[in-house]
């Protein structure tokens, strides 16, 4: 018996003991009908081959380990960026349980959202009653200032009409007639979570700017000098939004963050649960129509939203999740141009510090080969930073990246000598990435938590940047935007490089000569 009250051992050690390993070996050989060892090894090796890669890339119908989620997840993300706003997802209830769990596992924070809990009868008769009862219940229990309605695929397949349903619910007295209940149709079988973010944010702006679904006059734009800022669906939203606010405040820019999730996913442990915290106020959301311009940090999260904002006469600028010196330069110069405010010396100094840090460490990154996967904007931002560091982003993959993204990424690579021989994979998944890593190995992999399976299979060290990150804590509290954010990403990459050096040089009397104390 290996268990011991003095030093209790759990799954990490318990099952490595003799009694368990023998038990499990017996289980396998007597009852599991296992594949013969030679056959298993043969197939395992074959999955690493060029021949397998060819078959893998020939698949047309099957998706294995995608790096994307569905629209309603993005809808919940967008809704939570507004003051006292309750995301209300019309459709099956299990979906909402999944979104809440998914976000809580990443942010280590509560995520509040409700479902209209549609079941078989709603599938037949439509979900109007679920909407009527659901809005009434949510309003009484959770006292939201706004309820942002989106849909699951179930409601979309049966064709529920949100606009009509919400009107009907208001007529039934579910919520006060003047209550803000914006909506967006967010079918899970179109696009991905970034599409859902886009549709929902657009839905909210449309609600406030275009007459609240026919119940108020449309707002007339009276341009002021303010800037709107949109972060997009971003796993680092807590750190990033706070960093952007700090930079804009330093510059003295007048701005509105449209969709500010930085407080709701970072509430204090002080004895009180804040279901709502922070967020863009509804007044500011309406007022944002008057801004001179809107900056989106993520083009592919705000495609339709920017079209809509642009149609009101604002200048709209979109970045691709800028990371590093040049990305931040471009962002700040646009802010400066649009706001007429100069970039202050304090910020220029921060830039200098990042450049200095890159100069200090560049020798360790220069020429290293990387594979990156993730959302379209994030992969572009990270690839740009790697090129700036003299690294080679050999494989850039985005499951929810399309033709436009591919073109952009290829142009980015073409613009740098370090992009030579690098390739872009749109619409591919992490099982494709596995073949790439076996057949064209790289030094490091950048991706979310699911990359750990690739790390285990291919021995490519994983640098965790992306969404979701379930198995490392609190990184979302640190920005990856701004020069400070660039510093965080640089350090994250360097830490992995140095850890890797130490791990590959610690074999005593074999490789210990490179086990340097100063690097």
């Amino acid at each position: 018996m290996s268990q011991n009250a003095e030093k209790v051992i759990d799954h990490f050690e318990l099952f490595r003991g003799k009694e368990y390993t023998e038990m499990l070996a017996n289980k396998k050989c007597l009852f599991e009908d296992p594949v013969a060892t030679e056959e298993l090894e043969r197939v395992a090796e074959w999955t690493k081959s060029a021949e397998y890669r060819e078959k893998n890339f020939a698949r047309e119908a099957l998706t294995v380990n995608p790096a994307k989620a569905c629209q309603p997840l993005g809808a919940v993300f967008a809704a939570l960026g507004f003051e006292r706003t309750l995301p209300f997802v019309h459709g099956s209830q299990g979906c909402v349980a999944y979104y809440r769990s998914h976000f809580s596992r990443h942010f280590k924070e509560p995520t509040s959202a409700v479902s209209s809990s549609m079941t078989e009868d709603a599938a037949v008769f439509g979900g109007l009653n679920n909407m009527i009862d659901g809005l009434a219940n949510s309003y009484s229990m959770y006292k939201p200032k706004m309820i942002s309605v989106s849909t699951t695929c179930m409601a979309e397949v049966i064709g529920d009409d949100l606009n009509a349903f919400i009107k009907n619910a208001k007529e039934n007295g579910s919520v006060p007639a003047e209550m803000d209940v914006p909506f967006a149709h967010t079918p899970a079988f179109v696009g991905s979570h970034v599409t859902g973010y886009d549709n929902t944010l657009k839905g909210i702006l449309e609600h406030f700017w275009d007459g609240k679904a026919g119940t108020a006059p449309k707002l007339e734009r009276l341009p002021n000098g303010k800037l709107n800022f949109i972060g997009g669906f971003d796993g680092y939203t807590v750190g990033n939004i706070r960093e952007i606010k700090r930079l804009l405040d330093l510059m003295g820019v007048e701005y509105t963050i449209l969709g500010d999730n930085s407080d709701v996913w970072d509430t204090p442990g002080d004895g009180e649960f804040r279901m709502y915290d922070g967020g863009t106020t509804l007044e500011d959301t309406a007022e944002a129509i008057h801004a001179g311009a809107t900056i989106s940090m993520q083009e592919f999260c705000t495609d339709k939203t920017l079209d809509f904002i642009g149609s009101k006469g604002q200048e709209v600028i979109a970045f691709n999740h800028p990371v590093g010196v040049e990305g931040t330069d471009r962002f700040l110069m646009e802010v400066s141009r649009l706001s007429g405010k100069a970039i202050p010396p304090a910020v220029t100094k921060e830039r200098g510090r990042l450049v200095d840090a890159i100069a200090d460490s560049s020798a360790h990154i220069h020429g290293k080969k990387f594979a990156i996967y993730g959302d379209p904007d994030l992969t572009l931002g990270l690839a740009g930073f790697l090129l700036e560091l003299g690294a080679e982003p050999v494989h850039i993959l985005s499951t929810n990246g399309g033709a436009v993204w591919k073109e952009k990424a290829e142009a980015l690579l073409a613009g740098s000598p370090f992009g030579k021989g690098c390739h872009v994979y749109a619409g591919k998944d992490l099982w494709h990435m596995r073949s790439l890593l076996f057949t064209e190995p790289v030094d490091f992999l950048i991706g979310n938590t699911y990359g750990k399976f690739l790390e285990r299979d291919t021995s490519t060290p994983l640098i965790r940047i992306g969404f979701p990150i379930f198995d490392r804590h609190h990184h979302h509290r640190y920005p990856v935007w701004g020069y400070q954010g660039g510093m965080n990403v640089l350090v994250k990459i360097l830490d992995k490089i140095f850890d890797q050096m130490d791990q590959s040089t610690n074999d005593v009397a074999k490789t210990d000569y490179s086990f340097d104390i100063i690097r």
């Binding site: 047309e60 294995v64 596992r105």
Partner: protein
């Protein structure tokens, strides 16, 4: 709640807080929710609450769906089969490797539990139907994952709404590839919770795996001591720390359902002499079927905490001859010293602490004995997706005056905890951070908060350690700023 409060006062407090939450609801909702909230009265044969009814829209139910019950719970852990999340990408993505069904295998080659296979439905699949795509997916799986032993099709909402014939595809492809291919109609809108998903998954097991074994010989020579573990999902290794005790008492475990399970084990199960059932809720259906069709009796057991483990070992042994009965006593004696040491170490630190639970499956009742072994008291409990038979079984575990809440809403749970002021809350990931922010120690009782196993004697030591580290963590004294 101080310990000198009388049961009558507790009941009065429960009534009061139930009244307070109901007051907030619209009238119709209050009427419905009232039936799910109550206080256990000693001597009653159930907990006095309604269950297994539709969740009310907009209340923030903690429940999931039928897909979660089938793919996430019953089928997903079968390691040598490929489970396709059939429909849009989300369901498979959110459940990808999220349940800690431990297994041993070469992932992606002969084992597939922590892979996300999805048909990633696009608009055209909704409009024109997904059957052709499904057929092609099965072919592609056969090409790229040739060592799979079988495939299951886990339906997501749209599949049942657009009239696809997944059974037809499954039959045709099973014949073509000479493989077990199981269509499961576990669309998320079916039923009121995960529970119907369990039932549908059990029925699919019956129709597409178990009944096809009629008349087939076993792969191995049967012994009089062959048993199958049913309803243990091997969270953090639970089934393993259970299996070891059964083997030590002289039984032979021929199958695990479904944690670390294989298709071969499922197929062998009708040959068992006894099915031993841990999670009654999710697998009573197939146990009953095997009893009726193959004459395999079943017995429920509880491997949480020494008191229940000892009762269960004896109960299981009672189905066998003296060799096994003696074996059970030998196992009990072997672990007595460990149990005594664990209790001696942790009980003084946990004595008198009060716990509120809200979980799924069997745990709202099954873990109560383990807490009591440590001198703790469960003062409130409820089921995410329990039925009346679960609440009947619960009466054997709980004390007079226990607060009962079925399908609790986030709003109710928060108010109840605020009022009752337990020393520990045990529930899920969606609840964890809410209560921790309120200053309550918390353990996830679905995933064991990434610890475990909690089953068996080895697991009890871990359970005790974890409850102690939750309750006695220094962080709880820092919640309030000193100024």
């Amino acid at each position: 709640m101080s310990t000198n409060v009388s049961v009558e006062e507790v009941k009065e407090r429960n009534n009061q807080v139930i009244g307070e939450v109901l007051e907030v609801y619209p009238e119709k909702t209050a009427k419905k929710r009232a039936k799910h909230l109550g206080t256990f009265e000693n001597g009653k044969t159930d907990c006095g609450v309604k269950s297994n009814l539709k969740s009310i829209p907009g209340v923030m139910t903690i429940r999931g769906c039928a897909y979660a019950g089938s793919k996430g719970v019953v089928w997903g852990p079968i390691k040598d089969m490929v489970h396709i999340s059939h429909g849009p990408v989300g369901c498979g993505q959110y459940s990808w490797a999220a349940r800690r069904n431990y297994y041993i295998g070469t992932t992606g080659v002969d084992s597939f539990v922590t892979l996300q296979f999805t048909s990633d439905f696009q608009e055209k699949d909704i409009v024109f139907g997904g059957d052709k795509k499904l057929a092609q997916i099965i072919d592609e799986i056969e090409t790229l994952f040739p060592l799979n032993k079988g495939i299951t099709i886990q339906s997501e909402c749209p599949v049942g709404l657009i009239g696809d014939d997944i059974e037809g595809v499954a039959k045709a492809k099973a014949k073509e590839h000479n493989k077990t291919i199981v269509p499961v109609r576990c669309e998320g809108f079916r039923g009121v919770s995960q529970s119907l998903g369990h039932h549908i998954a059990n029925d699919a097991l019956r129709d597409w795996v178990i009944d096809k074994q009629t008349g087939k010989p076993a792969r191995f020579e049967s012994t009089p001591y062959d048993v199958a573990i049913i309803g243990d999902y091997n969270i953090g290794g639970d089934a393993w720390s259970s299996r070891i005790l059964l083997e030590e008492m002289g039984l032979r475990v021929i199958a695990q359902w479904s944690g670390d399970g294989t298709l071969a084990e499922l197929e062998a199960t009708p040959k068992a002499k006894l099915n031993i059932l841990h999670c009654y809720r999710s697998m009573n259906y197939i146990s009953r079927h095997m009893e009726e069709k193959f004459g395999v009796p079943w017995v429920e057991y509880n491997f949480f905490g020494p008191t229940k483990i000892i009762e269960s070992l004896r109960e299981i042994a009672a189905h066998f001859d003296d060799t096994i009965k003696e074996g059970a006593e030998r196992v009990i004696a072997k672990y007595q010293a460990l149990t005594d040491a664990v209790i001696a170490k942790y009980r003084p630190r946990l004595e008198g602490k009060k716990v509120m639970l809200f979980v799924g499956g069997l745990r709202p009742r099954h873990v109560i004995g383990a807490y009591e072994d440590l001198g703790m008291e469960v003062v409130g409990t409820g089921y995410e997706f329990g039925h009346n038979d679960d609440y009947q079984r619960t009466t054997h575990y709980i004390k007079d005056g226990t607060l009962i809440y079925d399908d609790v809403t986030a709003f109710e749970f928060e108010r109840f905890v605020e009022k009752v002021q337990p020393d520990l809350v045990g529930s899920g990931i969606k609840e964890k951070y809410i209560f921790q922010k309120m200053g309550f120690p918390f353990r996830q009782m679905h995933s064991w908060d990434y610890s475990g196993p909690y089953h068996g004697y080895d697991g009890f030591a871990i359970f005790a350690r974890d409850m102690d580290m939750a309750i006695n963590a220094p962080v709880w004294s820092l919640t309030k700023a000193p100024w």
